[in-house]
Amino acid sequence: MKKSPRFLLWFIILLIILTVLINIPLEGLFPGIKPLLFKKGLDLAGGTSLVFKADMKDVSPGQRDKALEGVKNVIERRINYFGVSEPLVQTAVGKDDYRVIVELPGVDINQAKNIIGTTAELSFWEVEASGSAKTASPSAYPLGVLEALGPNAKKTNLSGRDLQDTSVSFDPNTGKPQVQLKFTGEGTKKFADITQRNVNKIVTIVLDNHVIEAPRVNQVISTGDAVISGAFTNESAKVLSTSLNAGALPVPLIPLQQHGVDATLGSESLVKSLFAGALGICIIIIFMTILYGRLGIVASIALVFYTLFVLSIFKVSTLSSYGITLTLSGIAGFILSIGMAVDANILIFERMKEERRLGRSWHEALELGFSRAWTSIRDSNISSLITSFVLYQYGTGVVKGFALTLAIGVLVSMFSAIIVTRTFLRMVYR
């Protein structure tokens, strides 16, 4: 493994500069720079996590995936409406088991339940023909109805229950995306009546107390088919279609798991664990320096590099869609990996001592120490990786966080303890 050490040295120096830049608060010096931040899990940031089971017993098997997607869209839209930052809405499908997982940082458990509420509700509103002006308060109307229909707005008897299916289609003339509605038998009749009353007038479609569309009726429709055309993109047409399906498919959500963490508890835990981590690093540096002198100092430098490098990975990963969320157990995994990171160094240094005792030069002892300790370092690290892999596969949220940081720690520590330390030591013992 005698590749050009000079190239490696420059590569390592470059990496060190990069990790330092990522981890120091640059925004203090240059106010324009947006710093990279950690993505904190709910146990550190405070907030609520909820797991629901979507009750699919009234939904035909073929429609279930679609219904679940609809539930997810409804929840996402409600969350956006309430202005929660960095929410997470996931669906999980097991054998006959449909779940929605919602994580809301900074939201307490009661607020969270209000936001998510129950099933999506779809309704159609028209202008009352008799025209007798009513004096109902504006809050009695869904958002946007007064603007679209005026004070004579009235809810029709057509609702989401009357929808059989919705889909996205394309206007044959313009090629633009549109949303296709298909009503049930009874819905078809209701819809025909409504369109008859409202030719050349506007009927609004309301979902969860929001106007989502206010199309103008062009003619009487008695086939039970309707099209909402408008300025859709492919994406927005799909969103509307799935949202409508959610309204049409009443899927009650059954809470399976709820977890609310107070924000102060979260930040206390964060400070505590970071302090413990910093203390751990200091203890190891002292320990290594006492035990191995000059070698220990070099290993300590590599350890500090290791710490900064792993923290950089956490931060940089948040830019991608696979962002690593830092949880309490994740930090514990990271701190544990700090302890294990110097293991490889200890194995190598002990070996070097041994070779020195056999009368070899520092230079020889260095190379032999690294090459002979390699097999045990490799075997032990691979067994740690096997463990983290299995934990990641079968673990729940907390466990996954631990497994991921441990695995990253093991991989980076191989690099820092072997390549970085060796490159530095070759400089020292040249």
Binding site: H259, S273, L291, S329, R372, S380
Partner: protein, 301 residues
Amino acid sequence: MDIIGHKNWYFGLSLLVLIPGIVAIFLWGLNLSIDFTGGSRITLSFKENVKDKTVESVRNVLRNQKIEIASIERSNNLMFVRIPPIDSAQNNRFMSRLSREFRDVKQQEFETIGPTIGQETTWNALKAVGIASILIIIYITWSFRQVPKPASSFRFGICAIVALIHDVLVVVGIFAIMGHFFGVEVDSLFVTAILTVIGFSVHDTIVVFDRIRENLRRMGGSNFSKTVNESIIQTIGRSLNTSLTVVLVLTALLLFGGESIRWFVVALLIGIISGTYSSIFNAAPLLVLWHEFSSRRHSGG
């Protein structure tokens, strides 16, 4: 230093820890948390340290609401209440009733886990431990496939697994005892700790076995027990030092890392100390024991 010569003493010391633990596992089992059983957990914080009187009033409030109490624990100004699953409406009633009695009470954490999720977690935990162990046996057997005579890679694998089971039993046994006498709970983080201990135990054993493998090549296997003893003595320094760094870091976490990961860290500490012990004083001596046993049979028959 003659470790192999005194191997029975070391096996005895292991049994001294193992037997009470195993008895406790069979008598009382583990004190499972709501992660496995389903239920609700509430963390309350008070302005002052929790007194007996405070605990008693919380008990009364729960009784009035007809909520069964599984356990109440406390630490400084925090109180941890464990009850069967309640929904957030019930929780709100409980909190509003409680704040009438204590104006400064705050709910730091509320967690409810349904029984389905609990069963799932239990099953996944068992699967994870099983699969991890099997994968590690396969890896060791493969990695030590070229070990010189008179040892065999299969024996190395089995002895590493015996040491591994020893470490898992030590941790589980001690937690069964602590669960019975001090109400210490076992949650999904405990499973994580067990798996980490498994990884670490093998890690330690490999350091010793790797040296035995190397010395067998160099010195030959004519005096197997001497080769093993020498290997242990050559590696004991690094085995202790590598564990010591981890133990130091974990001690920092135990003292300053906060309440929620305390028992997780304790489990790791016990497991890692046990792992170091078992790799030096159990795994390698077992190889010798096995060798003596099979060679005696060969010469006898």
